[in-house]
Amino acid sequence: MRRRIQFLWLFFNNGYWAFLGKEKIYTGPLKAFCAPGLNCYSCPAATLSCPIGAIQHFLSELRFNWHNSIYVFGIYVLGTMIIIGAFVGRMACGWACPFGLLQEIIFKLPTRKFPLPKYFSLFKYAILLFFVFLLPILIIDKMGYGEVWFCRYLCPVGTLEAGLPLLILIPSLKQQITWVFYHKLIILSIFLIMTIFFKRPFCHILCPLGAFYGLFNHFSLFQMHVDKTKCKKCDICYKYCPMGIKIYENPNQLDCLRCLTCYNVCPEKAISLTFGTHHTMLLKDKHHI
């Protein structure tokens, strides 16, 4: 069921296929809403806005001067991200992120697999703080504008979903290619190759949206619980987890995507789910999600 929902989100997030004839991106009213996952809004088929791209654009255009001030912080985008996080934590990563889906599909290639060191996960918090929030405000050009640091220098999703398709669609854009494009192409290639051997490496190491949602995992309305009397630490959950985490160590840890794979595969039925402040059982009778 999760895979179907992931594909549904993929096609909803990228549902504007008229771009093939018109050679321009979607400009309709749906772009006023933020996508729950990381999905570049410059993708010709994108119907929703990327929250990380949007918030950087707002912050990069903050101007604190008398003559031409702009004090719009992007609180609408931030509010949307907070609401999603407060309701379900990082669940959007597991169910609605197109790049997450791509990584899970590539990981299925039959090769030897490796675990990622835990401390790699900390890197994405530095990316969120510096590349998304601080650098776009602090480093400005002569005109007083900042840059979208994460999108411009790091985001492989923008290269895959927007850069490459638009270069094919509008060949005249090739004249504007600089070293940044090749730099991002290398980052994309590195992550795609890593995805063959490691579980969702982009989500572990780089994704600032996942880092933001993950901060809410401990106190979101949706919570996961492990009954330690039932859990035998057989590690089946660890084997199937798309992030390679041990849910019994901490059921609401920062990297958990709430994909519910562990809930489905646990032979002891030790994992339960709650939604809301009364901690009522969400699903009393187990069935596959």
Partner: protein
């Protein structure tokens, strides 16, 4: 109890941000930005 309060604090904070964002016209600005091709996002230019 503290956990519950923090959850609802963030839900109301999020709603507050969305309402004020709408009030300050952020949606129009977002629409203007998101409906143009962003060369920086693509890594071009």
């Amino acid at each position: 109890m503290r956990k519950i309060n923090l959850t609802w604090f963030f839900i109301f904070l999020g709603l507050f941000f969305i309402i004020f964002g709408l009030y300050f016209g952020e949606v129009k600005i977002l629409l203007k930005k998101a409906t143009n091709i962003c060369l920086s996002c693509m890594g071009i230019g």
